[in-house]
Structures are given as C-alpha cells and as structure tokens.
C-alpha cells in the first residue's frame, strides 16, 4: 500500500481537490476517505484529460482522516505522463500537491495509487 503523506489540513474546513493532466492522456480517478477508526468511504469518481481538469470539494474531515486515490492513466504506448493532484484550503496546503509522473507501458496504460493524511 502507498505511504501516507501528512498535510495538516484544518478539520473545520472543506478541502478543494483539483486533478489535472498536462500531457496527452486520459485519466480515470476514484477517491476514498477513512476517518480514524473508520472504514473506507467512496467520495468521488471522476475523469480528466488534457484541457479538461476535474475538481471537487471534500467536506470537512476529522483530524487523522486518510485520503486514498486511484488513477488509471491511458494514452499512446510508451509516452510520458504528468498528473497533478492538488489539495487546497484557502490556498495550497503544504505537501498538498502530488505530482505523478512516469511512462505508459506498451499497451498505453499506467496505474497509480497514493494516500494523503489530511
């Protein structure tokens, strides 16, 4: 499983999440959150592509909540991709910008999973 990064979000405020891709790829996403002692809850299914980002707002979450995201990236085979996941509360959160970069395989796909401790 991916290692969580701590961003220190304010538990009293909602979190704006922006997803975008700066290369010629299509990305399917799924996002869950798990409060301390709780279970995973699906909070967002989305997709985005070059020129068309995906934004959504996550309601205020208790301290210690973990956010998990899955990305399915598709494009031409063996092409470099660059996907940005940005979490904001009255501006960018420290450590709240995740840059996912790499290269698609011979079929043109790549999968990413990562976690953020809010």
């Amino acid at each position: 499983m991916p290692t969580s990064t701590q961003i220190g979000a304010d538990p009293a405020k909602s979190i704006a999440i922006d997803m975008s891709v700066t290369t010629m790829h299509v990305v399917s996403s799924r996002v869950w959150v798990k409060p301390p002692g709780g279970v995973w809850a699906l909070v967002h299914d989305g997709d985005f592509r070059f020129h068309e980002p995906d934004d959504f707002t996550l309601p205020a979450q208790p301290a210690g909540t973990v956010l998990h995201y899955w990305l399915g990236i598709g494009g031409n085979p063996s092409t470099q991709f660059s996907v940005v996941i940005s979490l904001r509360q009255d501006g960018p959160l420290p450590g709240g910008t995740h840059l996912n970069q790499g290269m698609t395989d011979a079929d043109g796909k790549f999968f990413v999973q990562d976690e953020v401790a809010l």
């Binding site: 290369t23 010629m24 598709g74 470099q80 970069q101 796909k109 999973q113």
Partner: protein, 350 residues
C-alpha cells in the same frame, strides 16, 4: 534507366556493409549515415541520435525536473569533461507541471510541448581520442489526424475502459481489472488503425551537433545540422499521398569537406491496411566544397504491390529504376523479372 534484372533466383540480403579494414571516424560514420538515409516518410523520433548516426542501447528518459538535473549532471565527469555514450530522450511538458490546462493561451503552449520530443547524445570523435561529438535534436508533430489521443471519440472510449478498472475499495486486489485494460486497449487501438491507416500528418525534426575539443565546452567546433519535414494526406478511405524532404549539412572538419545534401521522396498508396499498390519517386542532390568539390543528383522510381503476410511481415513486388527504400529491414528476392521484398514495415505509415 535499368529495370530489375531477370535473374531466376537471386537472394539479396540488405544489411550493413562489410566492415572496412580501417575504422571510420565518427564524422565519416555520420556522413555515411547521411548518405544512406532512406526515405521513410517518418520524422526521426530522436534526431540527435540520427544526426550522430548512433543507436544507443541505453537511453535515459527523465520524467521529473529532478531526474533531468541528475541525468545532465551524470553527463559530465568529475574532471568537467563530457561523458561519451550519453543518450537522453524526453518530452519537455513535464518541466512545466504548474501550467495547468485552465489557461487557453498556455494550453497552446502545452499542446506544443506535449507533441515535442527532445534528444541529446554524445559519441567519441574518432581521430581525436580526446574529443567528443555531441548532438541535440527536436521533433514536433505539427498535425496528426492519425494520433488517437487527439480524437475525442477515442478518448471517450479510452475513458470507458479505464473507468471499468476502478477498484471497489483501496484494499482490493485490482490486478485482474487492470490486466484486462491492456487487452481492451490493444483492441481499441487496432480498430483505430484499421480506420485511420491513411490519416493526414505533418511532422518535423531538427538535429545539430558540435565537436567538443578535449571533451570540454570551452572549445567546440560546429558539425552541421539535419532537418526533416514529412507529411501525408489521406485521400478518401483507400488512398494516401506521402512526402518527405530532408536536408543535411556537414561542416568541413579534419579530412572531410563541407557538404550539403537534399533528399526527397513522394509516394502514392492505394489500398487497405493489408493490401495496397504503390508508386514512388525518391532522389537526392549533394554538393561538396573545399578541396573536394562537386555535386551529384539522382532519382529513382518504383511501383508495385505489397501484402501483409503476418503481423509486422510484409511482402512487396514491383518494377522500377531501382529497389525502393522502405522504413524496415529488407530481404529481397528477384523471381520472374519481379523483385520480391520481405520487410518488417509497410510503405505507408500507420
């Protein structure tokens, strides 16, 4: 103009020329590579390597600014000399992650960056064991109706395949779904190629280099430049016109004279992704200056048929003033006055 010879069975293996007793210099290798340029109707993916006449076995492909910095530092040794055998290829869009696609003006920049490739390579300059030849290259797709990622319907289909692979929970083993994506993408791409085999395209490339005396940037000598412009135009569902112009300029250095060369090709194809007829004219014009002066011009024509025997295996036959070039490695047999060529590449560029 000579036709193909009527030899009953002649096997011609088109491979590298026999090794010479003396080792050619790097520049001679580059010039020979320029002379042997085939008209492939495809701009080179890595013009720097093409300019140097090399095919690196290991190519570094940085995907983050940090990777790029580290890679470039690795290209210089502890004494400040350029490392030979260095090969780098990248798409520069990753250098601008904060250019999000919200700004339409920046989008235009991103489109350009997304379809641009940068390459960088080094090779030892023979004849001067302390010198290194270095080249940098750029490739850009100006227009490509055959690239499915520029097509909204294809993107929508791709999205559907990826959506179906979403895991139910973060803890779930999602390997089966993700593996199924590969097969679905191959099928999707095969359908695309079937209907876009003759799509219109326009692409260009540029490669240029210098000789670093003592392998240091403090003393360099310009080696020349190569440029490519290739295009194709789809005619209905069954036709395609292709054209390529290539310019090579090599500066006078050591024993080699200054030379320029124009190479061109025009090809018409009618058929399908598996069977087609073709007609082609290719030619070149060279000029040298300095102590070896002179110019040369030559053109050839070919027409014939080709068939896809198996995936990546083509059989073609035809007539002409000489064997036509093709992008793949060829094996040719002349039977009943016809030249039959086995190749790993068709004469169109899907």
């Amino acid at each position: 103009m000579s036709r193909f010879l009527p030899i009953t069975i002649t096997l011609v293996l088109l491979g590298p020329a026999p090794a010479r007793a003396d080792t050619p210099t790097a520049l001679q290798t580059q010039q020979a590579a320029a002379q042997d340029q085939k008209v492939t109707y495809v701009a080179p993916e890595t013009p720097a390597f093409t300019f140097l006449g090399i095919t690196p076995t290991t190519v570094t492909r940085p995907t983050t600014p940090r990777d790029l910095g580290t890679t470039l530092l690795d290209g210089i040794d502890a004494s400040g000399r350029v490392v030979r055998g260095f090969a780098l290829e990248m798409t520069p869009s990753f250098l601008f992650p904060n250019l999000t696609p919200r700004d339409p003006v920046k989008n235009r920049v991103l489109y350009g960056l997304a379809s641009t490739g940068v390459s960088l390579g080094t090779i030892q300059a023979a004849g001067d064991t302390s010198a290194t030849d270095m080249a940098v290259g750029f490739r850009i797709n100006l227009y490509d109706a055959g690239d499915p990622m520029w097509n909204k319907a294809f993107q929508d289909s791709l999205k559907g395949i990826l959506d179906a692979a979403r895991p139910a929970t973060p803890d779930e083993d999602n390997s089966i779904r993700e593996k199924a994506v590969g097969g679905a993408l191959r099928d999707l791409r095969a359908r695309w190629v079937k209907t876009h085999w003759n799509a219109s395209r326009l692409a260009g490339g540029l490669g240029t280099g210098m000789r670093l005396i003592g392998s240091r940037f403090s003393s360099e000598h310009f080696l020349g430049a190569s440029a490519w412009l290739v295009g194709s135009y789809g005619v209905g569902a069954h036709g395609q016109l292709l054209a390529q112009v290539q310019f090579d300029d090599r500066a006078a250095i050591a024993e080699a004279p200054d030379s320029t060369r124009w190479t061109y090709g025009v090809r018409a194809v009618v058929g399908s992704p598996t069977v087609n007829g073709f007609a082609e004219v290719v030619g070149y014009s060279t000029a040298k200056s300095g102590y070896v002066r002179g110019s040369t011009r030559q053109s050839k024509w070919t027409a014939g048929l080709e068939f896809l025997l198996a995936d990546g295996f083509w059989l073609s036959t035809g007539v002409g003033s000489s064997g036509a070039s093709s992008g793949g490695s060829d094996h040719a047999v002349i039977l009943a006055n016809l030249r039959w060529v086995f190749s790993n590449a068709p004469r169109y560029t899907p």
